[in-house]
């Protein structure tokens, strides 16, 4: 389908906790799901990644304008990959990058890793696709008759 994917290395999981090994694991899983040729890394990445701006309580701090400004670098890095999807394996990243995509006009989709794993296994039902774009909404739907 020629859809490209990039991945956000969550600061909390990669740089601040498990480092390069988990960044490699994340890429192994993502490439297994989407195909190596459809994966493209942001620069910089892994332990040297840029924070998206969703961490540290920023999402609830009330400083929305500053938070979006903080995330502008991240948005630029995502847009530079040309990917239609950014996989975010952290809740804060997911919420913040989703907002960046809408605010700066990148209109890339932001998906949880669990969504992509289930999609690739063919077990993702019609009501579990909130964050998939139109290009994937109808792909390999598990029990399509249960759509609500």
């Amino acid at each position: 389908m020629k859809i490209k994917f990039t991945v956000q290395d969550p600061c909390q999981i990669v740089r601040k906790s498990f480092g390069e090994p988990i960044a490699e694991d994340l890429r192994f899983v993502v490439k297994s799901i989407v195909g190596e040729e459809n994966f493209i890394d942001m620069e910089p990445n892994r332990s040297n990644n840029f924070c998206c701006g969703g961490g540290g309580g920023f999402l609830q701090s009330g400083f929305k304008e500053q938070r979006l400004k903080y995330g502008k670098v991240k948005d630029g890095q995502i847009q530079a990959t040309g990917a239609q999807y950014c996989i975010a394996a952290c809740h804060n990243c997911h919420a913040q990058i989703h907002e960046l995509s809408e605010s700066y006009g990148g209109h890339y989709q932001v998906v949880h890793l669990w969504t992509m794993i289930c999609l690739s296994l063919g077990i993702l039902g019609p009501n579990e696709r909130e964050y998939l774009g139109n290009d994937l909404k109808e792909v390999a739907v598990f029990h399509p008759e249960t759509a609500m």
């Binding site: 601040k16 040297n48 840029f50 920023f58 903080y70 669990w114």
Partner: protein, 243 residues
């Protein structure tokens, strides 16, 4: 140093930075800065509020404690630690930021974070969205029953709460049970497919911890202990934090 010596403002010497250094291994290297600027050039919070990590550290070193206390910038640094990663001296600026958050009286800290922490202290869920243990159980059981029926391949799928002796203790961001329960399901499916023996806890099931972001150490500890104790009580071997 006794608590009383932490008077803010006016001093030539930085009481704030000294105090923070005393609480960190190797003083967080806070007095080893080469002023090279590597931290500031790769920090996404640089320029917000006219501040950057190097400047913030210099201000602390120069004893400008009052300016630091008044600045909103510590609430815009996400404590992502990229500055430490690139710093030749491995200086722990995020710890300085964390302590700067605590300089303000609790009730003057950002309302959203304060409210989310207070919500987590309301009941044993530790949910920033205030969902009770009963609400959580209801949603989980309801969604599980629905999916077992609608997708017969998963008729044996489990989503246990307080399963004694489960290997994995899993927590959950409140957003799914409270606002988008269907998003709970993909993770359950993966755990089912791989045959993981897991459980949620009726206490401390919520993964988020805004008390930590609030720099309210006692509440942070309360929330963390509550969830860790639940995992221990159930005899779980691995704590899986989905946050």
């Amino acid at each position: 140093m006794p608590e009383t010596a932490l008077a803010i403002g006016g001093q030539k010497e930085s009481f704030f930075m000294k105090k923070v250094m005393e609480s960190l291994p190797e003083g967080g290297n806070l007095n080893m800065c080469l002023t090279c600027g590597a931290c500031a050039s790769g920090c996404p919070a640089t320029e917000l509020e006219g501040m950057d990590p190097r400047k913030f550290l210099r201000m602390a070193a120069l004893g400008m404690d009052e300016v630091i206390e008044k600045s909103d910038w510590p609430w815009m640094c996400t404590m992502c630690q990229r500055c430490i990663y690139v710093c030749p001296m491995k200086i722990d600026i995020p710890q300085l930021v964390y302590h700067a958050r605590a300089l303000r009286p609790r009730e003057q800290r950002p309302k959203g974070i304060l409210g989310s922490c207070d919500m987590a202290l309301k009941n044993e869920s530790t949910s920033a969205m205030g969902a009770s243990p009963e609400d959580f159980r209801f949603v989980v059981e309801d969604v599980l029953a629905e999916y077992r029926e609608a997708q017969p391949e998963f008729k044996n799928m489990q989503a246990p709460i307080d399963k004694q002796g489960a290997e994995f203790f899993l927590n959950q961001n409140s957003r799914e049970p409270v606002t988008e329960p269907d998003e709970l399901v993909p993770l359950w499916k993966i755990l089912h497919v791989v045959g993981a023996d897991w459980t949620y806890g009726s206490k401390g099931w919520a993964g988020e911890n805004y008390c930590m972001f609030l720099a309210d150490d006692r509440s942070w500890e309360h929330v963390t202990r509550l969830t860790a104790n639940q995992a221990d009580t159930l005899g779980c071997k691995v704590f899986l934090n989905t946050e």
